[in-house]
Amino acid sequence: MAGSRAKDAKKLALILLFTPFALWITLLILLPHVGMMVLSLKEKVAPRVYEYGFDNYINFAQEPIYWNTLLRTGSVSLLVTLLALLIGFPVAYYIAKIAGNRTKGALFLLCLIPLWVSDLIRAFGWILLLRETGVISSALQASGLIDTPIEFLYNDATVIMGLVYTVVLFMIVPLVSTLDGMDNEMIEAGYNLGGNGFTVLRRIIIPYAMPGIVAGCIVVFMLSAGSYLTPILLGGKNSSWFTEQIYDQFISRYNWESGAAFGFVLLVFTSLVVWLGLKLSGQTLSSTVAKS
């Protein structure tokens, strides 16, 4: 008797807890995406008259500017991911394993504070440093190294640097928590058994940190491919970033159908890259990003 009542209460609690989750995921994630897909299959043939078809996607495929932008966004984002990993890993390793207990907390906090500062402010800071009249150019002039001001903005290198800057913390934070959980004795045992620095890194540390590395890479790649402010502000209006195309279709041309198609293309493309990355690294979504 008491048992079945307890079971009923448990079932009721389950339903009550599942409701907000279901509402959130269905109304704000699933339905909008289904809606976006449906919208992307519509085409305006006359005012208020729509037909269903793949025209928006065909348009996308036929216009090299569009898919070149997508490929560029993807390849630059991959490069940004790689750079963020190469730059971030030593920093994460230093924080997790080398720094003393007190410096560790301070450094980690230092890593976190820029995380909470808006993209906009960070990009704004770079603009002030890098533009023709900016700090670096003025400083170089004042020191006599150059005669005429140099424009550091509006080139690919700056966009990549800005993107790495924006995302590198999302690489470092999961890496620090993964490396933190690694027993120091494991590294010592590696050396003790005759490994040198490189083999210990390759055979012990990196395999152990793999879930953290993959998690960081996924988040960084998605953030980079989905970023809007950094490429536009540092790369100028012609930075050819795919999110810019989506914005253009949606807001400037007010062509929502085509914008939805572009959005869907970006989503499928990035998901494909992430899926490929997971397959290649032998990880799953639940062993990396979904683990906390």
């Binding site: 008797m1 008491a2 048992g3 307890a6």
Partner: protein, 370 residues
């Protein structure tokens, strides 16, 4: 079966509980007289925790009845049962100080501030920690936490206090001290304690009665002495205390006496309990405690017929396990079997040494066969 018997603080009748295909508790019945210390002893996974959780109300039995002070509590939810529990890791609330931990249960029943103050001062006095009320939990030592956990329950005047291996997390020295302390506390409160443990020495030292549990069933209920000296089953004989054990075939049986031809290559004379009937040709096991084996160093190899013991063996000492008053020798007999026997080591040159030839003997009443 379910007779109302108010002379018992806790009575369980034919309790059963299974999880899927696992029978965790299988038809267990027992009753505990008021004010006694009752232990349930068994290896991990024997169902003792499930049994305790059923008494506390966290699990519902599939069959059977639980009565507290003569009233069935099967339908009473855990927060309304007057059975309190000290958890394995104590489960003191870390975000509250000692006072608030102890006051928790009193506030649940809506006691007044004055009453709470009074009762807390009282119970802290009784666990001999009168000045810790304002301390945080993490400021207490292991033994103090233990006592606060008990005080938190006892302040509610439970009919029965359940203790789920609360000494397990303590280091050895403190555990020894807490054993005695728990027993004293139980005397002082005069409340029935039901103590769960896998550690036989805890059960034997503290309890008035011990139930030995194995695979969901009670093997035997009795005083510590009865369990130790008159185990009712092979499991109890093997689990409580140390034993040498030899398997073999019965070659002669009768009158609570058995003669066994052991696989180890010697014959052993042993007695059996009334409940066990063995006949010629049966497989059986004989148990002999190390302290019941007499070790004689004055022996020459071919002459071994001079004591009244019914069982005797000779062998060489393989190694000496020195542990003060509880020292022991390992003797390897002719067939290569290792036998444990207690010895008294005085530190003199007469003490047995590894390699010595010794004669081991024990009387048949001191061996038990199942």
């Amino acid at each position: 079966m379910s007779t109302t018997n108010p002379t018992h603080d806790l009575a369980c009748t034919a309790l059963s509980k299974s999880f899927g295909s696992v029978q965790a508790v299988d038809n267990v019945s027992f009753d505990i007289p008021p004010g006694s210390f009752f232990s349930i002893l068994g290896p991990s996974g024997c169902g003792k925790t499930t049994l305790m959780r059923m008494i506390a109300g966290f699990e519902n039995p599939d069959h059977g009845d639980i009565q507290i002070k003569g009233r069935s509590v099967i339908r009473i939810p855990p927060n309304k049962r007057n059975v309190k529990m000290v958890f394995q890791h104590l489960a003191l609330f870390p975000m509250m100080n000692v006072y608030d931990n102890i006051a928790y249960g009193l506030r649940c029943v809506g006691a007044s501030r004055k009453e709470i103050d009074q009762k807390i001062a009282d119970v802290l006095e009784r666990v001999a920690l009168p000045d810790v009320a304002k301390r945080e939990i993490h400021q207490l030592s292991g033994g103090q936490k233990q006592r606060i956990a008990i005080a938190r329950c006892m302040v509610l005047n439970p009919d029965v206090l359940l203790l789920d291996e609360p000494l397990g997390a303590l280091d050895l020295k403190l555990r020894e001290a807490m054993k005695i302390e728990l027993k004293l506390l139980q005397h002082q409160f005069n409340t029935t304690f039901v103590y769960i443990t896998h550690d036989q020495s805890e059960a034997l030292v503290m309890s008035d009665n011990v139930a030995v549990m194995n695979e969901g069933r009670f093997e035997q209920i009795g005083t510590p002495q009865a369990l130790y000296h008159h185990p009712a089953s092979a499991f109890v004989a093997g689990f409580v205390g140390d034993s040498n054990r030899w398997t073999g075939k019965v070659i002669d049986a009768g009158n609570n006496n058995v003669r066994l031809s052991c696989d180890a290559g010697f014959d052993a004379q042993s007695h059996t309990t009334d409940t066990i009937t063995l006949s010629r040709g049966d497989n059986a096991t004989v148990y002999v405690r190390p302290e019941h084996i007499q070790v004689d160093t004055q022996v020459n190899a071919d002459n071994n017929n001079q004591t009244d013991a019914t069982n005797a063996l000779t062998g060489h000492i393989d190694s000496l396990l020195f542990n003060g008053a509880n020292s022991r020798v390992l003797v390897r007999d002719k067939a290569g079997e290792l036998i444990e026997a207690d010895v008294t080591l005085t530190g003199s040159s007469h003490d047995p040494k590894p390699g010595d030839l010794v004669r081991l003997s024990w009387r048949s009443e001191q061996a038990l066969c199942f």
